[in-house]
């Protein structure tokens, strides 16, 4: 017999994985739509105007499915983790509650924006409507991640009193709203989600421009350039916040830090250990870079880093999070390199007349990057990397806190719903998403095929 708690976890994990995928589009598309509409109006560019309109339809579809899957996740929080939500409701309900208003902002303005293209004469007024949509969608992401920060670093109530008597006292909703891990987790988590959505959409546009010709090809080229520009800026931000997150983990969540780095005992002059297998209480088959970890964490090659031995064994996260962490950093590095190279190739192509005399630049500038199969391959790879990075990042983030649902306060096993009726619900959710997700993607594709770009450009 499968444990109901395991079913709770599997159901929640599956739903979140799907929801995060949908949300990455819901949160990134408003940024692209806003930028393209503004450029379209400012420079009278029909391609960017058409892009804004076309992406709005896609946003509506993702919003519809994303909203509904968000509702299912909200219900799951309540139904699968009732004891957790009872505590959250008393101490840290503000992020969820404020998020409702961010969500309202997004929903109401999206409904206004999407159906008023021809109603509002001054195009800049119409453009202004996308700003609250952006603020609402990004705000929702920030607020929901604040709840996750609370789970990692709980604050805003008397924890020792709660642990000893089970009563909730000393509630400070503002302290709970902004827990110690809020800034670094939010900036990296939300930034990464926006990046994933942007890069996946860009991969789609690269493929479409490769397959199209004439007006449509120009349209997809412009769309790709816009997405590449925004993605590159966001990628730089995500890399910075990623490094900052690891630094902050060292100070604020030492147990998670130790698990990510694979540190069993506290050490000075700690080496950066890449990958490896944990067998019989020891790491084997890893790559070691002497002193690097101490240097990165403390700024000194001899700095002290924490170890899991400082914590009771039963609170250790599964140690494969160390390999997941290294895997994620490696993939992030790869994605960054691909984006950087693409930026360089396009910049060189644009300014080739200035630098054409330099042999290597001259060769690069002659390369027809837009009609190369390799461009499509790398774009597809980038899209896949972005998706995997986002999903693995969240899985690692959650596994790194195990066995706690709220670190040091409530175990996952204490929070879950032990009702035996969960199994059919879980099966229903999996079957359901398995059907609706591909159907939605196929539908969007068919919808855009039925409305060719050329017709919209007219």
């Amino acid at each position: 017999m499968i444990s109901p708690i395991l079913l709770d976890r599997a159901t929640m994990g599956f739903s979140l994985a799907v929801h995060i995928f949908l949300v990455s589009f819901g949160i990134s598309l408003p940024v692209v739509i806003g930028a393209s509409e503004f450029i379209g109006i400012r420079y009278g560019d029909k391609y960017y105007k058409a892009l804004a309109r076309r992406l709005t339809t896609a946003l509506l579809i993702f919003f519809a499915i994303g909203t509904a899957s968000g509702t299912v996740v909200a219900l799951e929080l309540l139904l699968l983790w009732p004891k957790f939500m009872a505590l959250v409701g008393s101490v840290d309900i503000l992020p969820l509650y404020i998020e409702v208003f961010a969500f309202f902002t997004e929903a109401i303005f999206l409904a206004t924006y999407a159906y008023s293209w021809d109603k509002i004469r001054n195009q800049y007024y119409h453009f202004l409507l996308i700003i609250p949509i952006m603020l609402g969608s990004i705000g929702s992401g920030i607020l929901i991640t604040l709840l996750n920060s609370f789970m990692n670093t709980p604050a805003g109530f008397n924890i020792s009193e709660y642990l000893s008597s089970g009563t909730i006292t000393g509630v400070n909703p503002i302290a709970a709203l902004f827990p110690p891990s809020a800034i670094y987790e939010d900036s990296h988590g939300v930034g990464g989600t926006i990046l994933a959505g942007l890069v996946m959409v860009m991969a789609y546009f690269v493929y479409k421009q490769y397959k199209s010709s004439g007006e449509a090809c120009n349209y997809y080229k412009k769309a790709t350039k816009l997405l590449l520009g925004i993605s590159s800026v966001i990628a730089a931000f995500v890399i910075y916040t990623g490094v900052y997150s690891i630094e902050m983990l060292y100070y604020v969540q030492p147990e998670k830090y130790a698990a990510f780095e694979g540190d069993i005992v506290p050490t000075t002059h700690a080496a950066e250990m890449l990958f490896g297998l944990f067998i019989n209480g020891k790491w084997t088959d890893y790559i070691s870079i002497p002193n690097l970890q101490s240097f990165l964490a403390t700024g000194s090659a001899s700095g002290l880093v924490p170890g899991l031995s400082q914590f009771p064994t039963y609170t250790w996260p599964p140690l494969f999070v160390h390999d997941m962490f290294d895997f994620m950093v490696l993939l992030g590095f790869l994605l960054g390199i691909i984006l950087l190279i693409t930026d360089l190739v396009l910049i060189i192509g644009k300014y080739s007349n200035r630098f054409g005399k330099v042999a290597i630049i001259g060769r690069i500038s002659k390369w027809d990057v837009w009609h190369s199969k390799w461009t499509v391959v790398f774009a597809a790879l980038s899209g896949a990397l972005a998706l995997v990075l986002m999903e693995v990042g969240w899985v690692m983030e959650e596994l790194g806190r195990q066995p706690w649902i709220i670190y040091g306060v409530m175990l996952v096993s204490q929070a879950g719903n032990v009702s035996t009726s969960i199994l059919p619900i879980m099966i229903a959710i999996i079957v359901f998403y398995a059907a609706i997700l591909p159907f939605t993607l196929i539908y969007i594709n068919r919808h855009f095929r039925a409305k060719p770009v050329e017709a919209e450009l007219q």
């Binding site: 339809t57 509702t71 219900l75 309540l78 109401i108 999206l110 409904a111 999407a114 719903n417 609706i436």
Partner: protein
């Protein structure tokens, strides 16, 4: 009466007002496809905000009654998740229909959307009515029999009355001709009779509460009468009065049955949040509620008043 309860029930009333209007528009579509464009114009911009109001109510409930969440989560897991899944389908199919350029497919998708919406409505009414009556609920074992909760006379009657109210509202909203102008009047009167009689039979405390809150019922009846009379007189603003009536009648019902839950076995007040959190929640509600009202004013102006 407790302020948190009033806020929470007002949010529920706002959600149910919009949702019942949506159900009504579905009925109109089923009655005569000729109203296709009218219904489409009405529901297209509105389905997103309606879903958002549902979430607003859910989270406001979490913020208002946190100690009830364990109870609610354990008991309503099956009905709640089923409602959630059908809600996704409702969203998916309304969106598919809107984005489809082929009218035949649009109508097929819209019909599926209507079926999904009605199932969600039935499940939502079931959860609501079982929380009121306690029928099918066992608080000692913290369990519910979903079949009993769904198919007991009180829930069926409650659902019928909701459907009648939706029908009445939709006739006024869309100027439906089928059956004559008397249909919304009969539907509203029948809905009142069913709700009051079934509540007296199945909610043991209701008659006593009704006697102290008679004025609430009278207010609701007066607004209903004004709405229906202005409709019969052909006044175009009658649809707005009917909207206000719908909101008030739901809200008044909540005020009358306060503070009882589960057939009088439990009370809302025993699940209220700590004072510190309640204070901040009220701040957020005040600021957020004002913003939403402002947004909705822009929304209704651009979508329903401004011409292209």
């Amino acid at each position: 009466m407790n302020a948190e309860y009033i806020i929470n029930y007002t949010v529920l009333s706002a959600f149910l007002t919009l949702f019942i209007a949506e159900i009504g528009s579905s009925f109109v579509f089923l009655i005569n496809r000729g109203y296709y464009q009218k219904v489409k114009n009405f529901i297209t911009p509105l389905w997103g905000p309606i879903g958002t109001f549902a979430i607003f109510y859910a989270v406001n409930t979490e913020a208002t009654y946190p100690s009830a969440l364990s109870l609610v989560g354990t008991m309503y897991i099956t009905l709640g998740m089923a409602a959630g899944l059908f809600f996704i389908l409702r969203n998916a199919f309304i969106m598919y229909s809107e984005a489809h350029s082929n009218k035949r497919m649009d109508i097929i998708y819209r019909e599926i959307y209507i079926i999904m919406t009605l199932i969600v409505a039935f499940l939502v009414v079931t959860i609501f009515s079982s929380a009121l009556s306690g029928i099918g609920v066992n608080l000692t074992t913290v369990s519910i029999n979903p079949l009993v909760a769904m198919f007991n006379p009180f829930n069926i009657l409650f659902f019928i009355s909701v459907a009648l109210i939706a029908l009445s509202i939709s006739y006024v909203q869309f100027g439906v001709k089928e059956g004559g102008k008397i249909v919304p009047v009969i539907a509203a009167v029948l809905a009142y009779i069913i709700v009051i009689v079934s509540s007296i039979i199945y909610l043991p405390y209701f008659l006593n509460s009704l006697s102290t809150g008679t004025y609430l019922l009278i207010i609701s009846l007066i607004v209903a009468a004004i709405g229906l009379v202005t409709y019969l007189l052909g006044k175009p603003f009658s649809k707005y009065i009917m909207g206000i009536w719908l909101f008030l009648s739901i809200d008044m019902f909540g005020m009358i049955q306060y503070p009882y839950l589960f057939g009088g076995v439990a009370k809302y007040t025993q699940f209220l949040n700590n004072s510190s959190m309640a204070l901040y929640v009220s701040y957020v509600t005040a600021i957020g509620g004002t913003l939403v009202a402002l947004y909705l004013a822009i929304f209704f102006y651009v979508n329903y008043v401004k011409r292209a």
